[in-house]
Amino acid sequence: MTSSPLRRHREEGLAAFPAPSNQRFATGQKLAPVSAGVSFKHDYLDAILKDVGDVGFLEVHAENYMGDGGYPHRTLEKIRENFPISLHGVCMSLGGPKALSQDHLRRFKALVDRYEPAMVSEHLAWSTHDDIFLNDLLPLPYTAQTLDHVCTHVNQMQDTIGRKILLENPATYVLFEQSVMSETDFMRQIVQRTGCGLLLDINNVFVSATNHHFSALEYLDEFPLEHVGEIHLAGHTEQHDDQGNRLLIDSHDRAVSDPVWQLYEDVIETNGCVPTLVEWDSDLPSWEVLRAEAGYANKILKRSERMHQLNNLGTRHAVSA
């Protein structure tokens, strides 16, 4: 395994979002680059309203709010009145060969219109096949044909909701014999052809790099970081493959691991600050523990922001001298 230093990207990786029209919400604008968020779960509602700590935004899974009414919408209204939200789709199946569900697109658009999220994201994966919903983020080979499918679907989603989306890199457990290009090339071409942004999940990078024996740093070096509008961090578990090698599982059921924090710091220090979310979806911790995870990301963001400001100051002084 080899590693290399990251390229020094200097562009700010934030997408431009349309101005908000709905004044009853706290903010509809893009998030500040120094923002740390967490996945929202209903059980945290009271604790969040009492003491949100350093948490600057909350991310919700779009599908949980696609019902017509009831408690989920009342809760999301309450959250949205107080905080910016990120709307994270998990079931659009952008990576499949079949046409997207019109019903799902319509429900997604209704959520975007109603809650005016600061960010909208989906996955480079598929989850529906032949009208069966498989409830997992399934991998795809990287070929000219799958690239066409994904680009068609990303365009369709963006056109329907009237917003730019951020596409998330997957955590994968297998490779495909059919693949003819790297994941980073594949994602770069999607950005070029659709104008979408990217959601960089650094835990996914670490999981895939470990599973497929490549360098996470080299992957990040090749990743189009200038198009990243959000970063995800999460915990993973460990199993073993047929050959007895480590096989990491993107389980979202524990704290972010040290090597993932290390990669995150590298990305933020070299690329600049990007809104960052800590995902935790099962074996949920107390609100205090989750809030502290976001607080740690916030600390890294703030320190990095100060460092960049000082660097810029130094550059200006150097020029004027």
Binding site: E63, M66, G67, D68, G69, G70, Y71, P72, H73, R74, C91, S93, G96, P97, S101, H104, R107, W126, S127, T128, H129, D130, D131, I132, F133, L134, N135, D136, L138, P139, L140, P141, Q145, T146, Y173, V174, L175, F176, E177, Q178, N211, H212, H213, Q239, H240, D241, D242, Q243, N245, L247, I249
Partner: protein, 258 residues
């Protein structure tokens, strides 16, 4: 050998084994350096199957409480393999779970189990139903008394009725933790109606006459016809009480114009 079709429709071959353990790992999925990848592919089989079983557990916790966790997960695994969801909205899943339970051989010794499953499915529907105001009693006072028997009602989207020959009202509440567990008289037939007039779901106990009445109302029979169904089922059926329940529980959202 890899067929041309596998190459083109990779997802057909990849999907085939996810809910069917008899299907081998697709030949084109690999580990690093082209190594065989059975355990790796099994991660996806496991994710799909377990996450769908967990979805069934989330929808039917009282059924799980009655049969026990191991039995329930076995039942749920058979169900998700035979009836995988067609919608990515899992809160719509399990519409035919009660029917599956009813014909599931190992569950036949628990004759009320399918009715509990029906109630739990109705409960989730009520939870996500549209926020629509129930029928305002003032609407009824506008109706000419002579034609009151011709009224027809549209059910509120949260409303669900489950008719049963077993004490399912008490069993449902006990196994959802809403009522202290106690011995129940298995000959005590209870039917149930769920409504959600505002924020909270209400559980309404129906006797046989009331159940016949509300089932007829739900089928958009006239108030007169529904009253007839109630009396036919139970000679002591009280229409006034039934109408008060119809309005008071928020079971209906509006009058249906003729």
């Amino acid at each position: 050998m890899l067929s041309a079709l596998d190459k083109i429709y990779h997802s057909d071959a990849f999907a085939a084994g996810l809910l069917n353990p008899a299907v081998p790992t697709p030949q084109f999925v690999l580990g690093p350096d082209g190594a065989k990848a059975d355990k790796r592919y099994n991660v996806y089989r496991n994710n799909v199957t377990v996450s769908l079983i967990n979805a069934v557990v989330d929808i039917f916790p009282a059924v799980q409480s009655i049969v026990g966790e191991d039995n329930f997960r076995f039942l749920a695994r058979e169900y998700v393999r035979a009836h995988p969801p067609s919608s990515p909205l899992l809160f719509l899943y399990g519409q035919d779970f009660a029917a599956f339970v009813a014909q599931f051989e190992p569950a036949k010794e628990i004759p009320y189990l399918a009715d509990i499953a029906r109630i739990e499915r109705c409960w989730l529907t009520a939870y996500h139903a549209a926020d629509i105001a129930p029928l305002d009693i003032a609407e009824l006072s506008k109706v000419d008394t002579a034609s009151i028997g011709d009224l027809r009602f549209a059910m509120h989207p949260a409303t669900g009725i489950v008719a049963s020959n077993y004490p399912v009202h008490d069993l449902f509440l006990m196994h959802r933790g809403f009522m202290e567990k106690a011995p129940v008289d298995m000959t005590n037939a209870q039917s149930i109606m769920l409504t959600r007039p505002q924020n909270d779901t209400q559980v309404v106990l129906l006797d046989a006459g009331q159940c016949a009445f509300f089932t007829a109302i739900e089928a958009q029979k006239s108030l007169g016809e529904a009253a007839g169904e109630g009396i036919k089922t139970d000679p002591n059926f009280d229409l006034n009480t039934a109408i008060q329940m119809l309005i008071g529980t928020g079971a209906t959202s509006h009058l249906v114009s003729q």
